[in-house]
Amino acid sequence: MLAFSGGGDELAFAAGFPGGALAVGLDPLSAVFLLPVAVLTAACGVYSLAYFPAADHPREAPRLRVSFGLSSAGLIVVLLARHSLVFLAGWEVMAIAAFFAVTAEDRDREVREAGFLYLVSTRASALCLLALFALHSAATGSFGLTPIGVGVVAPGIQSALFVLALVGFGLKAGLVPLHVWLPPAHAAAPTHVSALLSGVLIKSGIYGIVRVVSLLPDARPWWGEALLVAGVVSAVLGVAYALAQHDVKRLLAYHSVENIGIIAIGLGVALICRSTGRLDTAALALGGALLHVVNHALFKGLLFLGAGAVIQRTGTRSLDALGGIAAAMPATAIFFLVGAVAIVGLPPLNGFVSELLIYSGLLRVVASGAGEVWLLAALSAPALALVGGLALACFAKVVGSVFLGAPRHRSVSRGKDAPAAMLAPMAALACLCAAIGVVPFAFAPALAAASAVALRAPLASLDAPFAAISIVSLAALALCAAVGLALRARLARAPLEAAGTWDCGYAEPSARMQYSASSFAEPLVRVFSFALLPSVYSPRLTPIFPGPAAFHSEVVDAALDRILMPVVRAFADFARRLRVLQQGSVHAYLLYVWLALIALLAVTGATE
């Protein structure tokens, strides 16, 4: 909070390193990212007391507590670091601790595999960052993460730094096609860890991109364009994949890919505008992106915690096995519904505010019509609208198939809701979602300050219709409440009759005849089949008296299962064939020594 009001402090201490003083500091940009970290860590921490009690997991719980706290601490170090070695140290502590948190239930093979994929991705990301900071320090002669002056670093090197940041941080953030680790890791982790992972940890990637770009003096237009395109692709594919999922946690994870895409769209617009000198639009789009970072932490945390409560109650993550839980867990249902409305970006909640800001950035670029870049924005805005529609469909599916209708699952009988330690964090997050949605102007100064730092621009307030948003949101709330109350009063007087659901004359409807989540998503999955490549296992029914048969469809991640894994397998195969060279013959080994000698002598001879 301190940093929102004024400039950043810097703290430095000398240490025995070739790099010099290790500095940390706090500025508005860091503060915007720190806020959700603090909120979500606290919320998930409280939640875990009831969700993952030490009594039920004597072996895992202590380890999980430590790694959970460490990953959060590492993230805070990342956000405060002003020295590349400190940054990297915090980064890796965060990433490795998160690995242990994800693999808390390591006796499960699926968890181990997901954890390993995560570990490899985070290492690849860390090595990109290693290259990034090595190049940075070689170019600037310092390990300090302070803005680089104009003319100090060649433009080509700056672009290289940007690309390294995009790939390295993109891996962590989960931009398509670098998102492969994200869904399995989220599915494997204990739910409150998924919430932290999705809510704040992957945002460290966004922070990294913003921070690095803020260091570079000469932003090129193509940087922003690249980010914008990456964002659109991530958003559309992320939500399309989400729609095709049957596992609620994988679904939420793909929504993180989508939301990261939306954030990247905002960043891309901001970067485009920065490079063309339209700083007010840049601040608007960046403000939207940063607000979306905060918002996503809140509502995605909320959704994961809600999903966790359901999973703990029913023991399944499969959407097709759930249903009608609202009756048993009314409070959880309401909180989840709030999260769903927020993540779809609907008024009167917070998601709408940030998406509106990002739309505003896009539309301003279109309206200004400058250069050719407006066309890119003009194509991105409808794509964002498509994403919104798909997200709506997807969350309608989740809410409908998990909470509404009749129970498909035996264990869901009338009973108690989740314990208070789980409900309270959800309530807090839901209230924050509503607060940002209804009074967004309260958060505007912080966003403006952070944007100014990130854009290397003087501080200016955001040119956004916060008041109008407030009016629309409040009007929606008030009217709904009024009409709802009126209806209630009317129904209290009307003759009310309870009956079974109308099933068009069929005599014996059962819960299993409900429209399932897979069926719900089917029309859209069909439309996007060119990108999703679903595998359908459909039985052939013999004409008279068909036996029991099941229809099943599955969408695997194309980037993982159709591109990455074949490459990995090919490499492993190649490595396996190399083993021929080492079959235990000492004669062959001696021959290698001589061949090496001859080769090196030949090289020497050739150079002379």
Partner: protein, 477 residues
């Protein structure tokens, strides 16, 4: 004086050989290690009294390596009594005394200033480590020892020829050659180039065999795989570093002769090739001790790569020598504990070590993260320094290859390590009664603490020593 560094362990070796009690004898190892620490401290404080000169003497590289060796040996030696107590069925007279001889010879390599004598010392370490490898006395360890001795000796023979070539390069230039490093450095600019070049290549291949650079690394997985973890730690941490020092001596001559570009090209090639071979063989490696051997090959590649890049890379390589050695100590000793508890070193048989041996498995895992360059552990700092040097030298393709290979290595090593530590404990763990004990864990923990400490803070004297040593390798720059 530098001679003490050799004499003290040799003296302990004699005592160990003469000591009758097999229970008492192992405690001579930590005693020797502690004494050596004291001697080294005295050496490092004083500027040297010139006894043994000009043959023996501690230049910055020598001071760095002898100091490092003393620390590594002391901690490995502290682990030894616990280990040997478990192997009470085996006579340990030869083992203990030969280990001390081996240590003495390593110190000799680091402190000797004469190329010929250095060769003698290197060959002596080969011979001394033979009985250490053969401690388990089973068919597999015979095979490993045989291959180690033969390949090592043949390689070293080439290094001798290389030494002769370099000496002849002076003779050809009409200089009365003494094979003393200082003389060679002084007369380097006049040395006959063809002889110097060929000599360097021979020395590189010869000592590179000892160091375990690909494609001369073939003995390594066999030897490290079959040796006790304790011996593996000393070989991977100590001996390979000494062989590296031997290569550095020849490199110094090349630099002084103004031939650094030539030498760096060869080192670059060998370094990247070693990393690539190690990476390829680490993928789906089903034997966690062989996996450590390939990791050693990889890190030897990183060492020469750092030298090949030069500048800050030299500093990074010297720092990495220490970081790698200490981390390898952690890995080999903890892997040895796991091997002991499960009676197998195949990942098919071993899983869930975190449940069976919480301390050893945690250390093994931490060692894995350390050696793969995860901050805040030491190897991260050195690898980052080397990478920065690459960027500084604008060797972007090399940097890309370096990073790409690090990913491959991480994948290979990670899948093996995690298969061992995670998951449901396999039934194999029931087969042996061995579990974590203080003597088996404490030295490893101290090693890990040192690795961690070096990642957080490099003490000023060490920093100065590293800078001096790096400067010694960069005279002509």
């Amino acid at each position: 004086m530098a001679l003490w560094l050799v004499i003290v362990p040799l003296g302990f070796a004699v005592v160990a050989f003469a000591t009758p009690g097999a229970r008492v004898r192992p405690w001579l190892l930590p005693a020797a290690g502690a004494t050596q620490l004291g001697v080294v401290a005295l050496e490092l404080v004083g500027r040297g009294d010139g006894v043994g000169a000009p043959w023996l003497g501690l230049d910055p590289i020598g001071r760095l390596v002898t100091g490092y060796l003393a620390v590594l040996f002391f901690l490995c030696a502290a682990y030894a009594p616990g280990y040997l107590a478990l192997r009470a069925d085996r006579p340990n007279r030869i083992f203990c005394s030969v280990m001390l001889v081996f240590f003495a010879m390593m110190n000799l390599i680091a402190s000797v200033q004469h190329l010929g004598l250095m060769w003698v010392a290197v060959e002596a370490t080969t011979l001394a480590s033979g009985p250490l490898l053969y401690f388990n006395r089973n068919p597999r360890s015979i095979e490993a020892t045989w291959k180690y001795l033969l390949i090592g000796s043949v390689g070293i023979a080439l290094a001798l020829l290389g030494t002769f070539f370099v000496a002849y390069s002076a003779l050809r230039a009409g200089i009365a050659t003494s094979m003393l490093l200082s003389d060679m450095l002084a007369s380097a600019p006049q040395l006959s180039r063809p002889w110097l070049h060929s000599g360097f290549v021979l020395a590189l291949v010869g000592y590179g065999t000892k160091m375990g650079l690909a494609p001369m690394h073939t003995w390594k997985p066999d030897a490290y795989g079959e040796a006790p973890g304790l011996v593996g730690a000393l070989l991977a941490g100590g001996l390979t570093s000494c062989a590296f020092v031997a290569i550095l001596r020849f490199f110094q001559i090349c630099v002084a002769a103004g031939e650094s570009e030539f030498a760096r090209t060869l080192l670059l090639f060998l370094g990247l090739f070693s990393m690539a071979v190690a990476g390829a063989f680490m993928v789906r490696q089903g034997d966690y001790k062989r996996m450590l051997a390939y990791s050693s090959v990889e890190h030897m590649g990183i060492l020469v790569l750092g030298i090949a890049i030069g500048g800050a890379g030299t500093f990074g390589a010297l720092l990495h020598l220490i970081n790698n050695g200490l981390s390898k100590g952690v890995l080999f000793l903890s892997a040895g504990n796991i091997h002991r508890a499960y009676g197998s070193k195949r990942t098919d048989d071993v899983s869930g070590a975190l449940s069976v041996l919480p301390a050893s498995a945690s250390l093994f895992l931490a060692g894995f993260f350390a050696i793969t360059g995860t901050p805040p552990f030491g190897p991260f700092v050195s690898e980052f320094t080397i990478l920065t040097a690459m960027m500084h030298a604008e060797r972007y393709a090399v940097a890309a290859a370096f990073l790409g290979l690090l990913v491959v290595v991480f994948v290979g090593m990670g899948s093996t390590v995690l298969a061992v530590v995670q998951g449901e404990p396999s039934e194999r763990s029931e087969a042996t009664p061995y579990r974590d004990g203080f003597l088996g864990v404490a030295p490893i923990a101290v090693l890990l603490a040192l690795v961690l400490g070096l990642g957080l803070w490099i003490p000023a004297p060490l920093l100065a020593l590293l800078r001096d040593a790096a400067a010694a390798l960069e005279i002509a720059r």
